[in-house]
Symmetry: C2
Subunit: 204 residues, 2 copies
DNA sequence: CGTATGCTCAAACGATCGTTTGATTCTGCC
DNA sequence: GGCAGAATCAAACGATCGTTTGAGCATACG
């Protein structure tokens, strides 16, 4: 028996941190298993390969993220009083709040990195597993923005996603100041992003 | 004598393509020199190391990009008739048009990848070499958006940059259709991005 | 108790990486 | 023509990578 958490979970947590720090190729299984305090062979034993481990790192967080997103969307979808900002909040806030659930802030960087890696395998993985989430959001955006045709809507949602990804990666000019807590910073980011996106989405 | 171009230039071009395809770590010097039709040792002879080669790949394109950006900005900066969209065009179009100058489309993916790599070395490199470009654009944005305080303006420019980076990376939902030329697609992207960004920047 | 099963471990495997070496060829100048 | 320096080449170096192996340990069940 292990110290408090299972070997699998220890590997996943250490992998997430190391992938965020050094990238998927940059983080070796030896660094990873050493940080997790497990044997080198444990990764291949429990996950089959390094690539499968990467997939599981994604799945663990993204399942939680999209569940959270859909729950927030369900609160406002289809209701007459719903404003565009409400749907955007359901789309944006869970993504930024991912940093709250146990060291998840590192995962945002993993995700942003993965987006840029531009791997078709990952792209297919995301599309297969979470495409239905985008469908639901798109439908609700379409309801609130009836003056936009479908192609135009896709373009704009894509740009919103780009701004969100950029904000999540933390690479931009905007860095958290020392006198601002991480929670405050995230709240500021969400507020700015929602207003910015609302204006960009709804302009004629 | 080489076939028409120098060894250095051949390496840079092949490196750009391979870095875009497989990432900085993923592309090996053996693949790279093989694709360029030069000897393996040529990289270390001409550039000193793989890391120095990466720097030069960036420098070659970014020098051209920022020169182009500043030239476009100079045409409109400070003039009374200048609209926000004009400054955004000077910021966005050269970045998207990077794909026109000799196989440069691959470089956009290199750049997007580098942004996500989140390497402090690169960050410092970009800041040192091209920080003055952002300063000039920020000043002009500030002139056209006097109702925004400095912090608010920084936030919004950052979000625009995020959307631009995302669009450059070509990872989003929006993919170029087969019946649309690359130039047309880039023009559509620029037009959407400029309108989206203008709305997001100037909202009250 | 005996045995089957799940897990951990140290060690090794083959492959590939970036870099270096030393010889060889090419180039331009006196 | 001959020599100096730049450039190219095949070959090898040491390091590190992901993965596999086979023995050892723990736990659970008949």
């Amino acid at each position: 028996m292990n110290s408090s958490t299972s070997t699998k979970e220890r590997i996943l947590t250490a992998a997430e941190a190391l992938f965020a720090q050094r990238g998927f190729d940059g983080a070796s299984l030896r660094q990873l298993t050493s940080a997790a305090g497990v044997n080198l062979a444990a990764v291949n034993y429990h996950f089959g390969s390094k690539e499968k481990l990467v997939e599981q790192v994604f799945k663990r967080r993204l399942d939680a993220l999209n569940q959270h997103r859909l729950a927030e969307l369900a609160k406002v979808a289809g209701k007459p009083a719903t404003r565009l900002e409400d749907v955007l909040a359901a789309y944006i806030r869970p993504a930024l709040e991912l940093s709250h659930e146990g060291n998840g802030s590192l995962f945002m960087r993993v995700l942003a990195r993965a987006f840029a890696e531009h791997d078709d395998t990952l792209r297919q993985f995301l599309s297969e597993n979470y495409g239905h989430v985008m469908k639901q959001f798109t439908a609700e955006f379409a309801r609130l923005l009836p003056h936009l045709d479908r192609a135009e809507l896709y373009w704009r949602i894509d740009l919103v996603t780009g701004a969100l990804t950029h904000a999540m990666s933390g690479f931009g000019m905007i860095q958290r100041k020392d006198n601002v807590s991480e929670q405050q910073h995230r709240e500021q980011t969400a507020a700015h992003l929602i207003r910015f996106a609302a204006a960009g989405l709804s302009h004629p």
